[in-house]
């Protein structure tokens, strides 16, 4: 059965893309092997301690805690984007592996399909 890699590249609350991406990832992991790669502004989705109380939007970042329970195989982020953003893995709500360009290429190659959000 086809494996699916989800690539998240959008910041969390400026649009609904990030939330819809997480919804699709959780749904997909019920059907087949899934992994996720955070790149660019998508890394901001993972920042711990987000609050949307004063924004009127849903704080869906809490849902990332469920990825392991849903059997998501690999949870990775771009190492160059991590460095460029000034963030560290310690800033994130979940444990992620950071990959250099070659690592990201390998991750993409080892999955049959890629869905972008």
């Amino acid at each position: 059965m086809s494996s699916i890699l989800y690539v998240f590249s959008r910041p969390p609350h400026g649009s609904i893309n990030a939330q819809e991406g997480l919804d699709t990832l959780l749904m997909g992991s019920a059907f087949t092997t899934c992994s996720v790669l955070f790149v660019g502004d998508g890394l901001m989705q993972l920042i711990e301690g987000q609050s949307t109380d004063e924004m009127g939007t849903k704080n869906f970042s809490l849902g990332f805690g469920a990825l392991k329970d849903y059997g998501v195989t690999r949870i990775a982020c771009s190492k160059p984007d991590l460095v460029a953003s000034g963030l560290t893995k310690g800033d994130f709500v979940i444990e992620v592996e950071s990959l250099d360009a070659e690592g990201m290429q390998a991750l993409i190659r080892t999955h049959d399909k890629v869905l972008n959000f």
């Binding site: 059965m1 086809s2 699916i4 609904i16 893309n17 819809e20 919804d23 699709t24 749904m27 997909g28 059907f31 087949t32 399909k113 890629v114 869905l115 972008n116 959000f117």
Partner: protein, 140 residues
Amino acid sequence: MSGLFCVCQPMKFAIVVHGAPYSSEACLSALMFAKAVLASGHSINRVFFYHDGVYTANSLIAPPQDETAVSEQWQEFGISHHIELIACIASCLRRGILDETEADRYGKSGSNLAPGFTISGLGQLIDASINADRVVTFGV
């Protein structure tokens, strides 16, 4: 277009549309791509409209006469080629795209799902992705 897919075996494509008609070029590009897929001898297992792409399924769209009727062209394409056009239910409900069942369920005054479209769940996107040889997303 056919040069992009120089393969001997016909392939099965899943097409995902995230862009709304007129706001985004993605919706029309996806339609042109879908037509090119069939013209090249390949097949399409499903077209999934997600995010603002579900606006394509709005039957109340009334564009100026000198502009492309994007939604109507999608309807015609889906119906004439017997290709499933699925609009994500969560995206539809948030944006006011309702079939009669959903309009009744939520007590809304009317339904507006265009002919040829079906409202269904995210599982349809996953299923299409798993079973296609290629998934092509427009508007992300």
